[in-house]
Symmetry: C2
Subunit: 185 residues, 2 copies
């Protein structure tokens, strides 16, 4: 950030009075421009024994497989965001079952929230951000071609939890410091 989005004048980067982190400040408007993590929200769509994955058509990780998920918009709930992204990326008709993984990625300022969801029919097809959408049995998951560690973490937990038909929320941190699978709690 170089300019104030309210007045167009140059901002400075310093610690405001009473704060302990440097912020972008407009000394003309007297506004502090805070910067905060973004939410990435989506679904783990399930059809009988299979799960639905999307092959990404866009960067990052174009050509690799992922669960339908994307940046949450203003004026929607987490569930609405999860269903919207699944519709946009896979035209998937889903019914949300429960919140399932909540993952912090502090090194890239993102929080993932993924929901388990029941796929209601087989009328899915790739949206503009996907090259392909397919159902996979556990043994056919392309583990080496998954786009993100958050997706690998969520799928691994799901196949474990499915053995017991018990799906608690999994809250973890995926970062450069904390390798995949090291859960906080």
């Amino acid at each position: 950030m170089k300019y104030c989005s309210e007045c167009g004048k140059t901002v400075v980067h310093r610690v405001p009075e009473g704060d302990n982190l440097p912020r972008f400040i407009c000394e003309h408007c007297d506004i502090i421009h805070y910067q905060n993590p973004k939410l990435v929200v989506g679904c783990l769509p399930v059809w009988n024994e299979q799960v639905l994955l999307c092959k990404r058509a866009i960067e990052p990780c174009s050509g690799l497989w992922t669960l339908p998920a994307g940046f949450m918009e203003n004026q929607e709930s987490l569930e609405e965001a999860a269903l919207r992204e699944s519709d946009e990326e896979a035209n998937a008709n889903l019914e949300i079952e429960s919140i399932y993984s909540v993952i912090s990625l502090p090194h890239i300022n993102q929080i993932y929230v993924l929901y388990r969801a029941k796929l209601l029919d087989l009328d899915f097809f790739a949206g503009p951000e996907s090259l392909d959408v397919q159902l996979f049995n556990e043994e056919d998951i392309p583990w080496e071609k998954l786009a993100f560690k958050t997706i690998e973490f969520t799928l691994k937990r799901f196949f474990e939890d499915r053995k017991n038909d018990h799906f608690p929320v999994h809250n973890t941190v995926v970062s450069k410091r904390n390798r995949l699978g090291q859960e906080i709690d």
Copy 2:
């Protein structure tokens, strides 16, 4: 948003090609300035039968009671944000137990994430954003003087769940359309 934060020129507000929502766009830099919901993260600190509340010293809702919580910063995990806010507002020494409530507030573009936490000692005291910090038994909770519906929702669920010593994650929406207590799942 009126000006591009990268170049200082005026932005326009229109739907970008391939998108379906209006965005602030800088036609000089060719940048789309997305706006996304913010995370408010905090703790429900527990000491034996009591819970810790903070009396707010700042607007909104100055003088009303809340759980220690605030806007998540970049480069931290949800758990780190929850502990940092509890330290800043109540100087509370806590050990996180589990993620507990996840609440969408689409009308104000906020998502609350609150953790159950064990208070480790009684050395808490009000930080600069609090007028007072106190422990409350269930029967003494100032229900009519709570700052936010998210806090009322979380405390009510906690006292119910405590009867069974079982604390599932509560995921809900608090909005103008969906009154307090109407859980999604």
